[in-house]
């Protein structure tokens, strides 16, 4: 389709020239207007792709025309024609919305080129915009369908539950003997029916759970959680099942594992699902080991952000071709144990969803016939991250100074507040003072633990450390910490490696011992 161009110029010669040139050589459909007013009238009546306008015209000039078009016909492109030396007007025109400008006297080739370029650009833009619109619409549609799906699952689960209840009641009535005596075979098959009703109920529950997780409607009640206790709890609730197959469940989560930030109930569900799975796929006499550690530097992308928990079993293992798909809905490995009597095929999908809702990741390693290891990560609680960083860096420092036989001093500060009211505030003040006293050293490590502050200082020998200690004590005297009533003083404990102690444990012990001094 040829592009429609409106040429606006008060000089007749130019109109005639452009009319001929643009239609003959440019292939445009050209219309003419001799003033801004006429141009606006034409634009009201029919659409143009582009308006090529002169700058200086009586009454409505080019700038006004461009501004007007930009306002009322934003789809129409404008190009300004200016004489030499009126570059300011050209820039003004661009600011008002013109796509380009050309200078008079006009060069025919250049004019056509500029027009084409501007029009092509517009075409590309329109195409892109249409594409974006389409995507937006499709996305909207998908969101609607997704919401419908969730709604459907929720309604379906509810609607199925009621008839299921009647069936279950009826079967249980007969099974219980209330309706009369039943024989062995009747009991066997009714029990089978009952088992499968329960299974169907589990599937419904899982479906509903998963749909909520998938649509992001799962609500997490975040808090700091110690994993050791929670894991023991989950393990002991599953031990009866494990005992049936003489499977040993061992929890080896260290006390020192930092607390995670998560939803207690959901994390318990993660454990229950994974341990339950392991029991299911582990032959008699097997073993399940649950362990946890802080993710090491390079794998976590930032030290001390996540803990990794592993559930390792001596089960039948997962064929390599299934490893990828195992977390998908309804994915079950063919020929897996007990397919007919248990498992909804949703457990791992739910587990993955729950882990991901905690910003964690889950993965599996497996060897056929030997067993599988499921590992998932959870974020470490904010308050422990700092602590952890301290410990990690201190370990590193200690290792370093041990190797080079260089000194490392550990300070332990404690606020003794007889009033006992404003510990947190006092600790803040103390931390600041400590930092000021030590600020000439670049690599101080600071950690707050309960009512104490720990600081480690590298490359300060015993004498230097004692000087620093005196300075802090004096500093505390001169700028007393402000407590609300009561009297406050600061205790400082200190130990330096290698002059005094030989191991890190010794270092801590010594610093602690001297806390009163």
């Amino acid at each position: 389709m040829e592009n429609r161009v409106l040429v606006v110029d008060d000089e007749k010669e130019i109109r005639v020239f452009l009319n001929k040139a643009l239609s003959r050589f440019g292939g445009f459909h050209v219309d003419l207007a001799e003033s801004g007013e006429e141009a606006l009238k034409r634009l009201e009546k029919e659409p143009f792709d582009l308006v090529l306008t002169d700058l200086k015209m009586p009454k409505t000039d080019g700038l006004q025309l461009i501004a007007e078009i930009a306002k009322s016909k934003p789809e129409t492109l404008t190009i300004m024609m200016t004489g030499h030396g009126t570059i300011d007007s050209a820039l003004e025109a661009m600011k008002l919305g013109a796509s380009d400008y050309i200078t008079k006297p006009l060069n025919l080739d250049e004019t056509i080129l500029r027009l084409r370029k501007v029009l092509e650009e517009r075409q590309r833009f329109v195409k892109l915009r249409d594409f974006a619109d389409q995507l937006e619409r499709a996305n909207k549609e998908l969101r609607k369908i997704d919401a419908m799906k969730s709604e459907f699952v929720s309604v379906a689960s509810h609607e199925l539950r009621t008839p299921l209840a009647a069936i279950k009641n009826a079967v249980q009535l007969i099974l219980s003997g209330r309706t009369g005596e039943i024989n062995k075979n009747q009991e066997k098959f009714l029990s089978m029916a009952e088992r499968n009703i329960n299974r169907l109920t589990n599937i419904l529950n899982d479906l509903l759970n998963l749909s909520r997780i998938e649509s992001g409607r799962v609500e997490l009640k975040f808090q700091n959680i110690k994993l050791k206790g929670l894991t023991e709890l989950a393990a002991s609730s599953l031990r009866p099942h494990a005992d049936e197959k003489s499977i040993q469940i061992q929890v080896e989560i260290p006390d020192s594992l930092p607390a995670v930030y998560g939803d207690q109930e959901k994390i318990e569900q993660i454990f229950t699902n994974l341990i339950g799975n392991s029991i299911k796929f582990t032959p008699e006499g097997g073993k399940i080991l649950i362990s946890g550690e802080v993710l090491s530097h390079d794998t976590a992308g930032g030290y001390g952000d996540m803990v990794a928990i592993s559930v390792k079993d001596t089960g039948i293992g997962i064929p390599p071709e299934h490893l990828e798909a195992i977390f998908e809905k309804f994915h079950q490995v063919e020929g897996s144990l007990q397919r007919s009597t248990s498992g909804t095929g949703l457990g791992l999908a739910i587990t993955k969803g729950l882990v991901e809702a905690h910003q964690g990741k889950i993965w599996v390693k497996s060897e056929m016939g030997k067993g599988s290891v499921f590992t998932f990560t959870l974020p470490i609680s904010e308050s422990e991250r700092r602590d952890l960083y301290f410990r990690f860096t201190l370990d590193k420092e200690f290792h370093r100074v041990q190797q080079n036989n260089a000194p490392l001093t550990l300070f332990l500060f404690q606020v003794v507040d007889e009033g006992g009211e404003a510990k947190e505030v006092l600790l803040n003040q103390l931390e600041e003072q400590v930092q000021q006293c030590l600020c000439r050293k670049a690599d101080i490590l600071l950690r707050r633990v309960k009512e104490k502050i720990l600081a480690a200082l590298c490359e300060a020998n015993l004498q230097g450390a004692q000087v620093i200690r005196r300075r802090i004590e004096e500093g505390c005297q001169q700028h007393p910490l402000e407590s609300q009533g009561g009297s406050v003083h600061v205790k400082v404990g200190m130990a330096t490696y290698p002059e005094e102690a030989l191991s890190k444990a010794e270092l801590f012990r010594l610093a602690k011992e001297r806390l009163g001094g």
């Binding site: 539950r161 009621t162 008839p163 209840a165 009647a166 279950k168 009535l173 209330r178 309706t179 529950n205």
Partner: protein, 123 residues
């Protein structure tokens, strides 16, 4: 001694039957209602010893029936066990807020239900 009176409310006739039967076998006198309005009327007229109440009911839903009874001095002593196919946490909370004594999700275990009925009646 007169047998204890239990009002069973559910719009699913089959479900009502499967609950009524074992209750009657246990020796209870069972009244039945298939919608909320009728349930409320019967409860007020018959003053049952316990009510098994479905949540989703025609005319007047279970929440409302429960609230109307529990906020009435004359009837608030009647134990109400909610039977429902809704299993979401928020529904449970809502159910408890209306003053229901128990919240039992469908499908339920028959023996468990009978135990709970017995426990509430002996209180």
């Amino acid at each position: 001694m007169n047998p204890k009176k239990i009002l069973v409310v559910d719009d699913e006739v089959d479900l009502v039957e499967t609950v009524r039967f074992p209750l009657e076998m246990e020796g209870y006198h069972v009244l039945v209602s298939y919608n909320g309005e009728d349930a409320l009327n019967q409860a007020r007229k018959e003053n049952p010893d316990l009510i098994l109440l479905d949540l989703m009911l025609p005319k007047l839903d279970g929440y409302k029936v429960c609230r109307l009874l529990k906020f009435d001095e004359r009837y608030k002593h009647i134990p109400i066990l909610m039977l429902t196919a809704k299993i979401q946490e928020k529904d449970k909370v809502l159910g408890m807020e209306t003053g229901a004594n128990e919240y039992i999700t469908k499908p339920f275990d028959m023996d468990l239900l009978l135990q709970k009925v017995k426990a509430h009646l002996s209180q």
